[in-house]
Amino acid sequence: MSTPQTLTAGRSAQEVPYRPHRAWYRRLDVLVPIALIALGYLFLIVAVEERSFFRTRLTAKGGENFDWMYFWHLVPLMWQGLQVLAKATVLGFTLAAVLGFLLALGRRSARRAIRWPFAAFIEFIRSTPLLVQLFFAQAFVRASDTVSLSPINILVLVLGVHYATYCSEGYRAGINSVPPGQWEAATALNLGPVTTWTRVIIPQAVPNVLPALGNYLVAAFKDAPLGYIVAVPELLFFANTVRGNDFRPTEPYILAGIGFLLVSIPAAWAVRRLERKIAYERT
């Protein structure tokens, strides 16, 4: 961290008030986003339920390719699908963030017998399509007598495992970016492995990884509409249902695209801001 002298150099002291280094929970610029994220998370998990019917109350005019009245009346139904989509993404990504760290640890293991299976698993999952994995999981769940999962849980599980492999690569890069001197210093101070990880390595590695994780979260959100093939009642499921019921493909699909962009573009913007903020604080 920069000292107060360098902070105020060249500028008046009134402009940049002296702020000693504060813990993260005392910083509003960190606390407010975290509180917002936590609130949104709670809302998605507690308040959103998956209803699998999308009933329209209007019929579009037959002669027109695009009926605005019909389009606007679809918006609440789209919102319902979008919430389910966000819920599946958020739950799946939570799984991915945790599992990804374990995969990264496994891949960095000193033993070859542990390292190679982890590397093979990560490479295999990363280079095969999510769609095939979803079908596979669905077929597996249907065939087995012991495992039974609801559609949204299949999507969460597959999305989580798929993105865990991506996250593990991110974590690995972050852990490797911690200078070797830190490891050596931890050894010199006789810190145990747990203390080394929790007090030395992770606090330095994770901030570097956060922007990459944010990008994967946006990517996961973009892959989540695939859930409609396992009948998760989300955005694309909404569009397909309406198309099947009313034989009107243009309005629902275009509305789904717009609703999607309304979430993903601000999310991508927020990730870029985070990236710039962390890059600024690091230097």
Binding site: T128, V132, A143, K222, L226, R243, A256, G257
Partner: protein, 245 residues
């Protein structure tokens, strides 16, 4: 080991599917590369409206899910504009290519910006036109930075081609589902996971082939920068017109 294989006619189905997948991949790749070069350069244009247009395209192409884009292009757009639905292979490739162009443009832009400014200044000093500067000075050097992420992106697009089965094309994924249904009907194998493992292995092999091709391209490009004798000789054998020695 035998239980992990399918019947020969089922492999024929998978091969037909693989052919469709490769076709779509190639078309989407061509469109994607053209778009990424054009838009990536346009994002660094001097004119503001060109920059703005390119930025808008990149944001939309990167923001939207490829599956939703696929449905919009393949189903909604032909009806919206009252045109006959072109072949699904073309529409699917267009959707995937548009998607790839958004990501590729950012790769191209980043690589061009990573080229030292001195190169641009030197080519201005040598009185090269902007087109010549791009064609002979900046892009050849940027290519070394572009290729590795472009390889990853192409593998992403390969995985994206699995989506076209959802708009009714018979690619590997659709063939897999057909085989699965056949096996469920004639009960030749209640274990349907075998079919999916076969499909996953085909995708894995295709991804490794793409990986190898890009490695080869990188290797050939790298050789040019290590001062190999063959290409330098060919270039200097004939006197270059206008160049005084």
């Amino acid at each position: 080991m035998d239980s992990w294989l399918l019947a020969p006619h089922q492999y024929e189905l998978l091969a037909d599917g693989a052919w469709i997948t490769i076709q779509i991949l190639v078309y989407a790749f061509i469109l994607g590369v053209l778009l990424s070069l054009a838009v990536g350069v346009a994002r660094l244009s001097d004119r503001q409206w060109v920059r703005g247009l390119a930025f808008g395209y990149v944001e939309i192409a990167r923001g939207i899910s490829s599956i939703i884009l696929l449905f919009i292009i393949a189903i909604a757009v032909p009806i919206l504009f009252d045109v006959n639905q072109a072949s699904l292979v073309v529409l699917g490739s267009v959707a995937l290519g548009l998607n790839m162009g958004g990501y590729g443009a950012e790769i191209v832009r980043g690589s061009i910006q990573a080229i030292p400014r001195g190169q641009t200044e030197a080519s201005i000093a040598l009185n090269l036109s902007p087109t010549q500067r791009l064609r002979h000075v900046v892009l050849p050097q940027a290519m070394r930075i572009i290729l590795p992420p472009m390889g990853n992106l192409t593998i992403e697009i390969l995985k994206g081609t699995a989506l076209v089965s959802l708009i009714g094309l018979t690619d590997i994924m659709a063939a897999t589902r057909t085989i699965r249904n056949q096996r469920l009907v004639d009960a030749s194998g209640a274990d349907v996971t075998v079919v999916f493992v076969n499909a996953l292995v085909i995708y894995f092999v295709l991804a490794q082939i793409i990986n190898g091709l890009f490695r080869l391209a990188e290797w050939r490009l790298e050789k040019r920068y290590q001062g190999g004798e063959a290409e330098v000789e060919a270039a200097t054998r004939e006197p270059i017109p206008g160049l005084t020695k």
